[in-house]
Symmetry: C2
Subunit: 204 residues, 2 copies
Amino acid sequence: MSGLRARQKADRHRRIIEAATALFRESGYEGAKIEVIAAQAEVSIGTIYNYYQNKGDILGAIVSLEVNEVLNAGRGVVARPPANVGDALDTLIGIYIEHSLHYLSKEMWRQAMAISTQLPNSPFGQAYTALDRSLTDQIRALIARLQAIGLVREDIDGAALGELIFNNMNMMFIEFVKRDEARIPELRTAIRRQNRILVAAIGV
Amino acid sequence: MSGLRARQKADRHRRIIEAATALFRESGYEGAKIEVIAAQAEVSIGTIYNYYQNKGDILGAIVSLEVNEVLNAGRGVVARPPANVGDALDTLIGIYIEHSLHYLSKEMWRQAMAISTQLPNSPFGQAYTALDRSLTDQIRALIARLQAIGLVREDIDGAALGELIFNNMNMMFIEFVKRDEARIPELRTAIRRQNRILVAAIGV
DNA sequence: TTCTAAAATTGAGTCAATTCTGTTTTTATG
DNA sequence: CATAAAAACAGAATTGACTCAATTTTAGAA
């Protein structure tokens, strides 16, 4: 019987994530003390460290939820892309960016990104890299789809192009979260302008 | 007379940076305790914090040295670029990448990047952003030069293109420092492959 | 040379993440 | 239902970055 123990475990996980999400949003990542998260989740400090290797991993679990939602939303665009290369890219990237601040504040993103570079081999570091990879793959899938439809030249190196587009978008997003006053519409406009160069180069 | 006081100050700065560089390389950023840096530099803990706002700023000073060297080396390429768009980009990017591990280990880069996203408004965060900006500007200058020579089409949006190339390179470099086993030649090959798409699009 | 205000240094103390060890709870077995 | 091993928990102790009030050093005026 794996009953009680497993149930309690899942329950504690949930309580910790809920408490942390609330506190991160409320007081910021640094401001949310482990002691307080523990109290609000009704577990001890030791238990938190039994579930997560460090404070960053708690944030990591929250980031994963967000990115997986974004990936899901992106699937629809890849399946039925707008009938124009520029719009197709803009729509997919739009989904990524518009969703991005749904659960996570800019400060939470900054911390998450920082931790993922700081500790690339921690559970969260690896998970974050995998998420980036999934996003890159989704952009590549869109390009492949556009090639299949005949909107993008067949001789284009889709794998390299997908990386190029993702890397540029991601870097722009990093700069975006670094500046509290930066706004989404301007971010999207800037990325559109950059992608225009590519769109001109790859269209049939 | 600005003598003694200024001299001692410069001397202490130098000793702190020297001690920190050695210890960061030896024990890693986390492993290098402020207490030990202070002892090795023959100043007190408090003095270190009088010179630098936090541990990250010490690393920041070292990063600035490195990046400024790279920027200097890049000037030569911009002044007399190879007579071919692909080679010109590859040469400039080659300089950036080949220099990058001269003073800084991958671990130091990871920390520096992490801090710059984590605390974008700290002295170091701002300096790091400015350095990125300078590198972007240098790539833009190269493109402008190539346009002047007639190797790149005049109607290309040079500003956006420069960002695109820098952002992609930078993101590739971030992934590179995140993986200890990653090697420079493979990094350069991958970036060359990505840039090939652009080169094809922008050549006259 | 002597003296004083300003500048700089010092290191013990604070604070919060993480570790560690003893205790409690759960499970499985007879 | 008793019990021993395994798993999970608790929270006091540790650790290391950073602060701050007291002390020392320097500059330069008298």
